[in-house]
Amino acid sequence: MRAFLATACLALGLGSCSDSGNSLGKSVDPGTQEFRQPPAGGFSPTPGDSTGVGAIIPAEEVRHGGERLVEVFDEGLLSLSYREQILTDGEGAFSLRPLEALTSVGPEWESIQRSQQGFLFRYRDFAVRDRWQFTQNHLLIDLGNEVVVAGRPCARYRVERTVGESRTYELSVDVETGQTLAYEELDQDQRLVARMTYETYDAEPDLTTAIWFEPTLQETSLLDTEPLRSQTGYPVPLPRILPAGYTLFEVATLQVSNREWIKLTFTDGNDPLFFLYQPTQETVQSAGPLGISAKPDPEREPNIYLSRMGAAGAAQATLADGLYIAVGKVSEDDLVSLIETAFP
């Protein structure tokens, strides 16, 4: 019970903290805080409207197919470019197949892309994952002009992250569906980090022959109405300090090759930040108090391994009670802090 309350406190508490420290939340006129919903016949962006967050719809919620160009940059220089084919029914089923690499890649690139399409589809691209948190941490500016992407008229928006590390997105949003058909991500020095562009778009794709992605990870969301400990059967360490602007979004279990993980997803409204914990068999069986089981193993070297890929980083540490992992588009200090503040 205490563990779950701590989780909930973390979410509510940090949410309210960000309210006091964030300027956007107070800049929104109470009279316009009701976010615009796209009408049945589509929506028309209004120039100057900075609260149209509800009009940007995640790709997974729009039935469509198409081909997309994906480009990844390293310190402003193109490091990876490829084309892919997306198909989704708008209700959860999808496939994301790599078509061709336009830059030099390893021999296993295509098979890796296919095996990881679940990760890529859910987490790679710009999306408003939590509307409330998004408005707390970002400024959405309607640029007031339209462009055509894959033959479809799109409204242009700029998204500026106003809390923590600066980041900017330039969006082209389909005026009929609200789906983001192109975006550019820029770092704090305004250098390109990533770009995605639909080259073709089919609003009525044939789904009868679709081969949908079958996830290899079995993910189950945990209930926020039940104590976390009673759902897992063992104590789960929870990070006590989060990077600026992030709050708890979801708690789930992951089954990967008979290994169970606890997955905490935090978000700043757009980018996800993951904290993963895999308890040892001893932790699961003893299920003792957290203060006893979760300490650095005195027999092992307490290292934390850090890896970086583009704007994202991962931290991994093996402690006496289990394996800790943190992954997100945050600094190395923030990743380490996420893990270090989780054990007592």
Binding site: S27, I241, S307, D333
Partner: protein, 241 residues
């Protein structure tokens, strides 16, 4: 966005204000027709009640010691936490509006008030403001209630303390001086305690401190060196270089 999510977002925006919450629950039509939202609301009500009933716990000695260690040895968790706090700056939109106003004002001989009063009020609303800490408000209130008493206390606190005469100090010292045997016993007890502590923590065992809270950072070049699950998330977020 569906009606359930819309209602829940609105409720969460008012979660810290009981009156606004109640008003929303009374007025929202969706709530009366959606059992899922009603169930969701019951669970949130339970959480709010549970949080408001939580006792305040005092800081443990172990935590105080940990914070002391953090503050005295290099970059600490506290420092990192402080650095991670959001900076209180004007919103980018406000900065842009002010910049525009200044640019327009530079060409005019006198500064004109904002053309649109509503725009002006929005700019004012956009400003972050700091509230007075409750403790400061209380202290000022107390001082205003009894100004004479507080002025007197402040003056008394500033007076130079008078030293006792030497003869009085000597008499007091004689009164509290312990017998020689008791003083020897005290020294012996202290020495024994030091000896026991030294034996318990004999140097050279090189046992890692189980209380150690910081981990040694090791940078890995090849992403294949991290766990496959971490690799999957990292590739998705980092763009799979």
């Amino acid at each position: 966005m569906d009606a359930c999510r819309n209602f829940r977002d609105q409720w969460l925006e008012r979660a810290l204000d009981r009156a606004e919450r109640a008003a929303l629950e009374r007025s929202d039509e969706h709530l009366s027709s959606c059992s899922a939202c009603a169930e969701w609301l019951r669970s949130r009500d339970y959480q709010v009640r549970a949080f408001s009933n939580l006792k305040r716990l005092s800081v443990s000695d172990a935590l105080s010691d940990g914070v002391d260690r953090d503050l005295t040895h290099g970059p600490s968790v506290v420092e990192r936490a402080l650095r991670s706090l959001p900076r209180l700056e004007a919103p980018a939109e406000l900065a842009r509006i002010v910049a525009e106003e200044l640019t327009e004002g530079a060409s005019a001989s006198t500064r004109e008030p904002l053309a649109d009063p509503e725009r002006g009020s929005k700019m004012v609303r956009a400003l972050d403001y700091a509230t007075v800490p409750s403790v400061l408000e209380r202290l000022v209130g107390e001082e205003l209630e009894e100004p004479a008493q507080h002025v007197a206390e402040r003056f008394v606190g500033n007076l130079e303390p008078k030293r006792a005469p030497a003869e009085l100090e000597a008499r007091v010292a004689r009164l509290f001086r312990r017998p020689v045997l008791l003083r020897v016993a005290g020294f012996a007890t202290a020495a024994a305690a030091v000896l026991v502590t030294w034996i318990a923590l004999v140097p050279g065992k090189n046992v890692p401190d189980p209380e150690r809270r910081t981990l040694r950072r090791v940078h890995v070049e090849d992403v294949a060196d991290v766990d496959p699950v971490a690799r999957g998330f990292l590739r998705a977020l980092g763009g799979d270089h």
